[in-house]
Subunit: 469 residues, 2 copies
Amino acid sequence: MSLKRTLLATAIAGLGLLPLSSVANEKVDLIITDAMVLTMNQDKTVYENGTVIVDGNKIVAVGDSSLAKQYSSDTVLDVDGDIVMPGLINTHTHVSMTVFRSLADDVPDRLHRYIFPLEAKLVSRDMVRIGANLGNVEMVKGGVTTYADMYYFEDEVAKTVDKIGMRAVLGETVIKFPVADAANAEEGIQYALNFIEQYKDHSRITPAFAPHAPYTNTTETLQKIAKLSLEKDVPVMIHLAESHREQEKIAERSDGLSPVKYMDSIGALNKNLVGAHMILVDDEDIELVKKSQMGVAHNMSANIKSAKGVSPALKMYDQDVRIGLGTDGPMSGNTLSTIDEFNQVAKVHKLVNQDRAAMPPIKVIDMATMGAAKALHMEDKVGSLEVGKLADIIVIDTKAPNMVPVYNPYSALVYSANSANVRHTIVDGKILMKDRNMLTVDEDAIRKEALEFTKVVRSTVIESGEVVQ
Amino acid sequence: MSLKRTLLATAIAGLGLLPLSSVANEKVDLIITDAMVLTMNQDKTVYENGTVIVDGNKIVAVGDSSLAKQYSSDTVLDVDGDIVMPGLINTHTHVSMTVFRSLADDVPDRLHRYIFPLEAKLVSRDMVRIGANLGNVEMVKGGVTTYADMYYFEDEVAKTVDKIGMRAVLGETVIKFPVADAANAEEGIQYALNFIEQYKDHSRITPAFAPHAPYTNTTETLQKIAKLSLEKDVPVMIHLAESHREQEKIAERSDGLSPVKYMDSIGALNKNLVGAHMILVDDEDIELVKKSQMGVAHNMSANIKSAKGVSPALKMYDQDVRIGLGTDGPMSGNTLSTIDEFNQVAKVHKLVNQDRAAMPPIKVIDMATMGAAKALHMEDKVGSLEVGKLADIIVIDTKAPNMVPVYNPYSALVYSANSANVRHTIVDGKILMKDRNMLTVDEDAIRKEALEFTKVVRSTVIESGEVVQ
């Protein structure tokens, strides 16, 4: 496209119809100028007065201010010194659960005592769509351009992602007990296969299997999914090494193996896998994780909220494991932008390592961008601002008082920024949010529909006498 | 004032000049309606469809929707279901250090290796004013209505607080080595005394002493300040039981006493004291703290960032110690609204207690409001929405996607909110921020002046070859 346009411009100039100066300017779809560009490339190049050039859905150039002169565009975003960086990649969530957010947050054994029963009553196509719409808006406003989801009726989530214009890896849940969209694991696998068939060629959506966890599925199911995922070349997302309950159940099943070793022993630990949480992993587990090339989703905020512990994520990162940040679902995290994880990730790793130099900001930002892209095996497409990559770009306001001054952009992002500091969000070359206004969906209508659904939630929860607060 | 107005209205009605219906309406300065009111009173009363009535600088009524009909006002804030709560009280910061934010965040032994030398070169009246102006804006935008500050040239901070309209306890630093505004501790005490004399009758500013820490002052200085503070009836703010360095130095000086026991042994632990951090305290220390009626500032975010550890703040709270949240300074925290502490306070206490039910949201909110008021010995004036208290009130946006839905307002505030969710901030009955716009100061001018000063910082830091990043 760029080449064609250049040839056309040259041809027109040859006819004497345009002044020569415009020949030098290649016409592109979007130019971002006057930016502090954090490329997050291999060398972590920063352009203090930088430019990013986008054509179609791709980045065609990244560099300093001189670059801007070589291109022209009808859409120029002069960001006045703001930070421009790769879109955030949220490696683990359950987006539709926004409609349950702030319910019974601190109930012991909450998943089994509260969440599964709540879902049995309330999960439906409508609920999945309504919740996903709300969560998508929250993510775009918080600078998340790609997310990985595990839930039910993922074809409904897919429709919302398609509409808003985000990128996503969507995993259809497989679990051994009856759930809203399947009576058993086999039906879950069939649902997933149909979903995969439907979305396998979508440019922004990657369909996937999502076996809930090792202990909530049989060995046979996990093996079948591993085999199918390699055949279809789709990801498998799973909660792994998350809880003591899981650890005990798997040890019983496997003659004492850890969850990671068990998954390896049954042939389910491979490059298509993405394990969420990975708290209860030892050095041998990490060796297996690394060798398998599987991805890891690190969800600090949810893990400490549930008092489950702190994943050795820093150790994994330092050993080149494919690891990125995730928020977990909105009943767990409880927010969906990984910006609001940054502070906690940086600081809690310092605390547990008793070292204020541990987990410096640049590692946190790497885990939110390239690390997360690697965790989802998308590092060739997204995660950094480099020529040829898809144009998933965010702009962070450096005028908000909490962001003044910026001596070190990584420090400012990790220790000062919050999700509301995101000004613009671009996915696949398209501006989804500009100056905090959503351009592709009606935010008010989405919020109103979600609030309407909360009436159903309230009446169901109150009827059954379950905990609200 | 209210009584006078009622009498006047009755008198006028008696003359037949006004219709009778208006007689029922008492005219007040501000009415907040359609609010989810969290009073944070003793019973933690919540009005789901509530009203707050303000006249002059005081709250004259708090109740349900029926209350609104009894009053009239030229200023009615219909907040459309948003959360209305007491203004946040930040019990510990060094506001002027905003101009140094994001410098050398993770340098080991940072206070002595980096911050003290930096301050020796750059602290001045101008720096203090410029930094305080910026920090004040950040706090008002983040819902902080009262803060406690420890720094130099506190008379400059006082001028900025007076202008913006906030409430503050301002502690002039006393320290044994030469600093920008005093050559030694004695000069620091004299500076503080002059400052106290100048501001002792200010309605919103409480001047105070701020001996930096036990180990950076002599026993004689600490005793002299304790005595003077009781004579003048002003607070004493100090960094206490914060670091192992302090613990060792004090043990050397006192035949093995802990910092708290040492302060008690020299007669400096009393009801006027506010101790910041209080990480290294044992059960005996807590007993002394409780008995003394001193206040405690709990700065989770800064404490874990520096890997200093986690204060037993939950234990102190549960034992009725006067304890509230603080952010610490912007080189430490690095943000100044305690909203951005909530998540970390709730979750890190769960983590260290290995109990997801530990530190529930309502305790966090209590520590941000009434607890903080008690820590600063201001609980008769601020910290809750109750009749007769000063009208320090904030309104939190519940329409932002991260705040939807609100089944439990305490959960939503602690696990979902960020400082940008604050919509309106009212101090002393006056609206300082409305719909996120500052009404009493020029935010752009303040930011520009701060950015101008960063040039001085950059050149000084770079000249001296010190760490920037």
